[in-house]
Amino acid sequence: MSEVIILVDSVAGKVSKATAELATFGKKVGSVTAVICSSDSEALLPQLSTMAIDRVITCTGVDFEKHSTGATAAALAEVVNSIKPAAVLIASTARGKEIAGRLAVRCESGIITDAIDIDADLITTQSVFGGSTTVHSSVTHGTPIITIRGNSIEAIVGSSTPTHEDFPVSYDGADKAVVSSLAPAVKGGRPELTEASIIVSGGKGTDGNFAPVEGLADALGAAVGASRAATDAGWYPHSFQVGQTGKTVSPQLYIAAGISGAIQHRAGMQTSKTIVAVNKDADAPIFDVADFGVIGDLFAVLPQVTEAVTAKKG
């Protein structure tokens, strides 16, 4: 049976939802081996037992957080050369794509990024050009290295008892950059933008007041996003920007409030399952992609939705 490697993705000692999704995709192809390259490996290991994972390999001997992606790619390459998997699946984050790129060079293997699906034969599906085109591709040389976007599949959750082994690696120092200090991200109560199943985003129409956007997001248990106009104006941090030069998201529900829907913004959210728009301008291009649009003032409409959601939750 073919064996697929997934790279365990985690932040601050917590395994991300993306890891469970990678395992679920891996199961389509064969048995799943999760590789941990993290200084928090002991905390991560027990969290993997709720996922579709058969075998866990912990790479040891390297301070991964300090050395960033170069060390992780080097370690993963050693594992790949040792167990010769059918494919390597990595989360399509900025960091994941860098690791995948370096790994592809090291293992002389083809790479496909931002897949939204793979099949049993490792044919990938990608959604490109702002969601206007669907592409099917495959890697034709070496070990297929594929990064997969978050929220692309409903992760299998259950219990498993994966075998576990340590895999000592050495760091060859190919990447000499070191992280000299880290101010940990302040975690709000809201879900991560790329993991959230619902996102409420605000744009120019908020005029800098995100309170109605945040109010609705909190009622829905949603993440908050922002258009480039809003982040450039300094109304919301750049890390919350959705669009071509920000994050690409694909939630179950995307609510765009006061966002005109320039092609650059649509490129980052067009694959959302359901799109809802609230905008004063009846001609705003966002309405062309919205399943439900309200022509109106977000300051009136959003609080009414929040109230209805809260009432329904009772």
């Binding site: 900025a94 790129g101 931002d114 206007s132 000499k176 619902i198 009414q304």
Partner: protein, 268 residues
């Protein structure tokens, strides 16, 4: 410092992009521009040199040099000229029919070879091109060159032979440092790229712009291009356009109607 800035000419990001019959982006029928995100890399290089120049200016007399490097068809010289007009010293275009259809692995190989030949000690890139959007070339360059990798920089400083950046990642705000040589990619909030001045545009016409073939770079034609690509497109289909859905005008109950729609779709 001997700085190389890697740039790409891409279809205008406002243009409607489509796939050609060969499973590749149709580039012939769209306007081509300098990749937006590369302008921040060019600006970063100029600012770094200005900060470390006795005259406060880039160019001759600064003691540093900035070269823009691109791989692409002949018309990519337009993008390189724009960089020259912003104040970069010289430009190299690697252009060869055999390069058509190259994947990121081949692209990084060609750029890395040119960087090694030029003896650069700092390579600056944008975070991604707005056409393919893979965002892997800077990391691949660092891997191939064995240079330090400092990506997604929101600020950059060079003191002596040490390069320092800060960046926002999912872990928080990180400060990173490394000795040169290094590959740095910069995010768009790092600066506001300058517009070429009239003087800059006039001066750019006299600046060196060299076009090199694959043979001149020293890479075999069989190692690059679509036949050597390690991934291939099976098919591509235009996604059915999202039909515009229901649109209502708020007359006091727009929010309630919206909530009813969400309830009907079982989203709340």
């Amino acid at each position: 410092m001997k700085i190389a800035v890697c740039i790409k000419q891409v279809p205008d990001s406002w243009a409607q992009k489509t796939m050609g019959g060969d499973g590749r982006l149709d580039r012939a029928n769209v306007d081509a521009v300098l990749n937006d995100l590369d302008e921040y890399a060019i600006e970063s290089a100029l600012k770094l040199v200005e900060a470390n120049s006795p005259t406060g200016e880039a160019g001759e007399g600064s003691g540093h040099s900035i070269t823009v490097i691109s791989m692409g068809p002949e018309r990519a010289t337009e993008a390189l000229r724009k960089a020259l007009s912003m104040g970069v010293d010289d430009a190299i275009l690697i252009s060869d029919e055999a390069l058509a259809g190259s994947d990121a692995l081949a692209t990084s190989k060609v750029l890395a070879t040119a960087i090694t030949a030029g003896g650069f000690d700092l390579v600056i890139c944008g975070t991604e091109s707005t056409d393919a959007r893979m965002s892997v070339v800077p990391a691949m360059l660092a891997e191939r060159l064995s240079f330090a990798q400092l990506t997604f920089a929101a600020s950059i400083n060079v003191e002596g032979s040490t390069v320092k950046i800060s960046r926002q990642t999912e872990f928080g705000v990180e400060e990173m440092s490394a000795e040169l040589p290094a590959v740095v990619s910069v995010v768009e909030k790092i600066n506001e790229p300058r517009y070429p001045s009239f003087k800059g545009i006039m001066a750019s016409k006299k600046k060196p712009l060299v076009t090199k073939s694959l043979a001149e770079v020293g890479i075999a034609a069989g190692d690059v291009g679509s036949s050597a690509a390690w991934s291939s497109v099976k098919d591509s289909l235009p996604r059915p356009a999202r039909g515009a859905g229901i649109k209502v005008t708020d007359n006091g109950d727009g929010g309630s109607q919206l909530a009813a729609f969400l309830a009907e779709r079982k989203l709340i």
